[in-house]
Symmetry: C2
Subunit: 423 residues, 2 copies
């Protein structure tokens, strides 16, 4: 194990090795002999001597064809039916913190339904002074808030309870996305209906056939939950709950009810199927942890990773990944090159937001030897992301939920990367 830190120092010495330079302007990279002219520099190319696409070519654009591999992917054997299944965000190929809606993971319990704004209704009933039904237009008349938040499936990393079973950062940790939402605080709608003093729990239910329903304490509903219409600036996509979904910052994704149709106010939790037989954590003694809503601090290195190997050989290498916490802001991420023996602090870049994805990066000078890459997040509560073994020691391996253990990538000398565990 090796690879030494080169944070903040000039990379010139190293890049000069690969970048032939001088009066003749030869090209970078190992494939070209120094001094050989590069036609991509010395000759006029087709794209520099003809017209490209006009401005009316694509009223709404899609990614360029060269990026066609950057898509959601699913694993057929994971679930019985594709209408009650999951796919995965290609986090290994993304950067920054925003997840485009087009490739943000989906989890459906009975498929993604098509529901128009005119057909949309939201009912608030139960222990309220005045039961209410809102049309979509009604909702647009309430004060709005903007909030960026991560949505993580409780089962993200769930296969890792049993060891390194899936190859690829997308499949092991890609049940997560991060978007900028705009919506009405649920608090305002509840205040409109008037919650009775005995109302202590809120039950949110979707309009799809599964009627996916989840309970949450009234305190959370009155805190930072949004009845959201927009994500990343535009309307929610169909698969993300168009026209209205619940945004429950820091809480597991199953509670972010899509195609939201009802908010019931009760004196106790509903204990629905989705919070009893599912989304509870079966412990070694046969009892279940329940109400494990808040997603604990976690991180993962997205590149290099099994789907994002090192192609360029030794020398300067950007190690980058994502960190998040359902309890607030990520305050620190450490990276290990040797399977957790030694750690160095990564740089957090961009605006660190509470309950939202944070990007970290560590720049190293890779000497070409094997690495056991790990990352470890710390949040503002002081919580430190644990190892998988530390989690298993308490929780066992019965559950597929809430595995926020440290992920290990084994980088080989040839730059390929494998999902492994270290003892």
């Amino acid at each position: 194990m090796s690879g030494t830190e080169n944070k903040g120092t000039s990379r010139r010495a190293v890049l000069r090795g690969g970048l032939a330079a001088g009066a003749g302007l030869a090209v970078a990279g190992a494939a070209r002999a120094e001094g050989t002219p590069d036609p991509l520099i010395t000759e006029v190319q087709d794209w520099a001597s003809s017209f490209g696409d006009p401005v009316d070519a694509t009223p709404y654009g899609m990614p360029i064809r060269f990026e066609s591999q950057v898509v959601r992917r699913n694993v057929e054997w994971l679930t019985e039916s594709p209408v009650s299944s999951i796919n995965f965000t290609p986090i290994h190929a993304l950067e920054g913190t925003i997840t485009p809606q087009g490739c943000a993971f989906e989890r459906h319990h009975s498929g993604a339904i098509e529901l128009s704004k005119p057909d949309y209704r939201l009912m608030i009933d139960g222990l309220v002074e005045t039961p209410l039904v809102f049309t979509y237009e009604d909702l647009t008349r309430f004060p709005r808030e903007t909030r960026t938040a991560f949505c993580e499936c409780a089962a993200n990393g769930g296969m890792e309870w049993g060891g390194a079973q899936l190859e690829g950062c997308q499949f092991t940790q890609g049940m997560i996305h991060n978007m900028e939402y705009v919506g009405v605080p649920l608090r305002l709608l509840l205040e409109e209906a008037g919650v009775k003093p005995e109302g202590k729990w809120v039950y949110a239910e979707g309009a799809d056939a599964s009627s996916n329903g989840r309970s949450m304490p009234l305190e959370k509903a009155m805190d930072d939950v949004l009845v959201a219409f927009y994500a990343n600036g535009e309307a929610l996509r169909k698969e993300h709950g168009y026209p209205v979904r619940l945004v429950v910052p820091g809480f597991e994704g199953n509670m972010w009810v899509k195609w939201l149709r009802r908010i019931g106010v009760y004196d106790q939790a509903v204990e629905s199927r989705e919070e009893t037989s599912k989304y509870t954590d079966l412990m070694p003694d046969g009892r279940a942890r329940k109400w494990t809503w808040v997603m604990d601090a976690k991180s993962v290195i997205t590149s290099p990773s099994p789907q994002a190997p090192i192609y360029h050989g030794k020398g300067p290498l950007v190690i980058t990944g994502l960190a998040w916490s359902g309890h607030g802001k990520v305050t620190r991420v450490d990276v290990s090159l040797d399977g957790g023996k030694n750690w160095q602090e990564a740089e957090l870049t961009g605006e660190a937001q509470s309950k939202a994805l944070t990007r970290f990066r560590l720049n190293i000078d890779w000497d070409g030897s094997e690495l056991l890459l790990q990352s470890r997040a710390v949040d503002e509560t002081g919580y430190v992301q644990p190892t998988k073994d530390a989690l298993r020691a308490i929780r066992g391996t019965n559950s597929v939920y809430h595995n926020n253990g440290i992920q290990t990538w084994w980088v080989h000398e040839n730059g390929e990367v494998e999902n492994v565990e270290v003892a």
Copy 2:
């Protein structure tokens, strides 16, 4: 003129007028008589009793068909050719601050070219110690930064110099977008090449046939300029410069060179076509203001606006819009309902970021009478967005560039909205 503020107070009294409520749970809105059952609530709908789309339906998704009107649009008579033209972001239909790449405005000088990563080269030459050529892969080995920034065409609002000529918020002010970028600071590449002491200007040039080229002072190039690969988490789209564009926070969009192929370092500005015959501001005395790179503080109400009229009649109304400044953070936005006679402070929501779009909102209780809506941005330098007439008094009307004057929307009693000017 009227319409009174209702910021922060309960909307219950007003909404109760429109929202029939009670034991029978009748539906909201004027179209249904109070007490009449709404089948959308009382009957099981198709979408609640059948499967929706599976998770393998759309590896990369697009907006739902109901939002097909939220697209970039161009105005054919504005330019001679669609390969050297502009289209407009549908800002009237967006919310929050992020602009999806798919509907973010485009400006091309010879069309959007298709350039693959293997074919990509970036040359740094001129007054440097060591001229260099970088492949795409070389660039990915340098330290990266994340930065959200607005990109505004210098001609945004340009038709407004001659008065209210275009209908719709999209067409008057939609040459703007705001994305989260990831890239290498240009500073690091220049340091790699080694800028000679006499190098004072940087010239950036694109790989398209127009070779769109612009000069900027070395100080800016060494400050916050990014050589960017990612926008909103994913690769740049073709029309936004895939695989590499320049991000020049706060500066006019023409300088954000797409398909970036060369950075030249010189002792003076190049004075290219794009910074002499174009992108200079012709004053009344025939002289031209030049080097007017920084986009001054500006704002616009996106809804209600001509393409986003008020459908719901009087009562609670969310007035929302965008504000920005090339000089830093927006610190305040005021809204007038009476054409600038009286102003009230709007709420700024989300994270206010320097040189990035900021969302503002004002919640009012509309009495149904006519409004002359205006917004006025103030930035951290203390600069106050001027009226169009104040700008014209100094700059005349020869130019199509740098009109950051206050926009007025005339809201009629029926909720329709017109682009007008007030004396």
